[in-house]
Amino acid sequence: MMKQKELKGDHEVNTTTTQPNETVMQKESAYVVNNLNLWYGDDQALIDVNLDIKKNEVTAIIGPSGCGKSTFIKTLNRMVELVPSVRTNGEILYHGRNIFDRDYKVEDLRTSVGMVFQQPNPFPKSVYDNVAYGPRTHGIKNKKVLDEIVERSLRGAAIWDEVKDRLNENAYGLSGGQQQRLCIARTLAIEPDVILMDEPTSALDPISTLKVEELVQELKEQYSIIIVTHNMQQAARVSDKTAFFLNGEVVEFDATDKIFSNPTDKRTEDYISGRFG
């Protein structure tokens, strides 16, 4: 891999040393997944997954339930390792570094890769403390700074106006949709590069779902977003690229327009036209 030396010194652009080849029109990669295999005990859940996920795009992962899409997204921040019997091989390069490297601290990875879960899971604390949890955990104690982070994150998650007068109330008092946006705000509070969303709207009503989808569109400006969804319309609405998973394999990975209008693989076509799943 060649380094683009001429960039250095011009501006203080990006100092990451393992920046990939900057071919014209080619965006930077957030994740490069090479030959990823994963087993739960003896059951193989991911088979030879290869994906190149770009920065500042929304990548949707679709597929029937049990296809490994949820497993895959949890592998990207190594949350999958909380299941005791998990084994993996292959590599996932994040900013050019294999996240499975022995000296890669999983806390560092998860600090720059945020995650939003299927069920809203706020802490049983106040709205403020929920958002401040991440920064506090990482050593930011200054009250003024925290106040600003909380406001900025809640605004970023488009929920500030709804909760600004009840920051000290318990988050369990919010509606499901508000709770989910609070969870997004909580993730934004540590300014991650990537946000992983594991079926973030599956527990929400249509209006809340719409709000979250709009939010995803806004967040794309600053963050790379990977979203697992069982809802194909949602994938079509929000994403730039779509990967179709089936039985643990990537069947097809392409621009969302292409996948939904003119898929290459017969199985993709069958799935999006609703023949199974």
Binding site: D108, T111, S112, P135, H138, G139, I140, V145, E148, I149, E151, R152, R155, G156, A189, I190, E191, E218, E221, Q222
Partner: protein, 314 residues
């Protein structure tokens, strides 16, 4: 998107903190699991401590008193000039208490359990269950006082020839003390029998009584057995009730009307007295304690085994 202050980069602050604060967070994450493990290990150390204590002093006891006398004789006169250490006299006291206690506790405990799990409405349960919880929380010294000052006089009025100190009164009160234990463990395992099994039998026209006796109790048998065994183990180890109301006359005869001495009451008697460190009496309490420990341990292990081995899979 609204960004009040573009200059503040959380990410940079976090990275800076990471470098600065690495050490403390890191130390906690390295050290705490070990400290927590040590806490958990305290229980193992305690068991080893008990085994060591009992074993060590037991050994000293057997240097002075032959094993054959301890386990082969029925005479226990530790404080007379001609000392005898035949532990069966004490075991007989403990056995009487246990038998009487189980005669009281098993029917009443199981009846309570059946009522709570099969008949009581949710409302009745919330009123009735606390009675058992309060009964379970009464200190044994209080039960001891109750046995001596209330139960014994009543029994003496009913049964001529009953001594002030006897096995019957403390036996009954130990039984009362155990009722909550048998009731709650049995009830747990009976409530765990799924509703659909009950409904099946009720649907065929069985009465609640028939469901309870023929369906629920067999299905919950392992829990019921465990509750009874654990109750027995509690009766064997119970100390204050029998010390206060049972007397201090070790006798190898099964007569609940007479004064007795249980293994536990003997230990208290010596510990309370002036038996100096190094005397045979002093070591004898460890010998008795070791036997007590073995009895209860075997019963607890058995109860554990029963619940594990016969855990109902619904």
């Amino acid at each position: 998107m609204n960004q009040p202050n573009k200059g503040l980069s959380i990410r940079e602050m976090i990275e800076a903190n990471k470098k600065k604060k690495y050490s403390t967070t890191n130390v906690f994450d390295k050290v705490m699991p070990f400290l927590l493990f040590l806490s958990a290990f305290v229980s193992v150390v305690t068991t080893v401590g008990i085994a060591f204590t009992l074993g060590f002093e037991l050994f000293k006891f057997f240097e002075r008193v032959p094993v054959a006398e301890f386990l082969g004789s029925t005479e226990w006169y530790p404080l007379s000039a001609d000392q005898r250490f035949g532990v069966w006299a004490l075991v007989m006291g403990t056995l009487q208490i246990t038998v009487i206690a189980m005669i009281v506790a098993v029917p009443l405990g199981l009846a309570s359990a059946i009522y709570l799990s099969e008949y009581a409405s949710e409302r009745a349960r919330t009123i009735l269950k606390p009675i058992l919880e309060v009964l379970a929380g009464v200190p044994t010294i209080v039960f001891g006082f109750f046995a001596l000052s209330f139960v014994t006089p009543i029994l003496q009025a009913l049964i001529p020839g009953l001594q002030i100190y006897n096995a019957l009164s403390p036996g009954i009160v130990v039984g009362i003390m155990i009722i909550p234990m048998i009731a709650s463990i049995s009830e747990d395992s009976m409530s765990a029998v799924p509703k659909k099994i009950r409904d099946g039998a009720l649907g065929l026209g069985a009465t609640r009584l028939e469901v309870a006796i023929k369906v629920v109790m067999p299905a919950a048998l392992s829990g019921i057995i465990a509750s009874i065994v654990l109750g027995m183990s509690r009766a064997i180890g119970e100390t204050m009730i029998v010390t206060i109301a049972g007397g201090s006359q070790p006798n190898f005869e099964f007569n609940p009307l007479n004064a007795i001495q249980t293994m536990t009451a003997y230990i208290v008697q010596i510990a309370k007295g002036d038996a100096g460190y190094g005397t045979i009496e002093y070591y004898s309490i460890y010998a008795v304690g070791a036997l007590l420990f073995i009895f209860t341990l075997v019963m607890n292990l058995f109860a554990n085994w029963v619940t594990r081995r016969f855990r109902e899979e619904y």
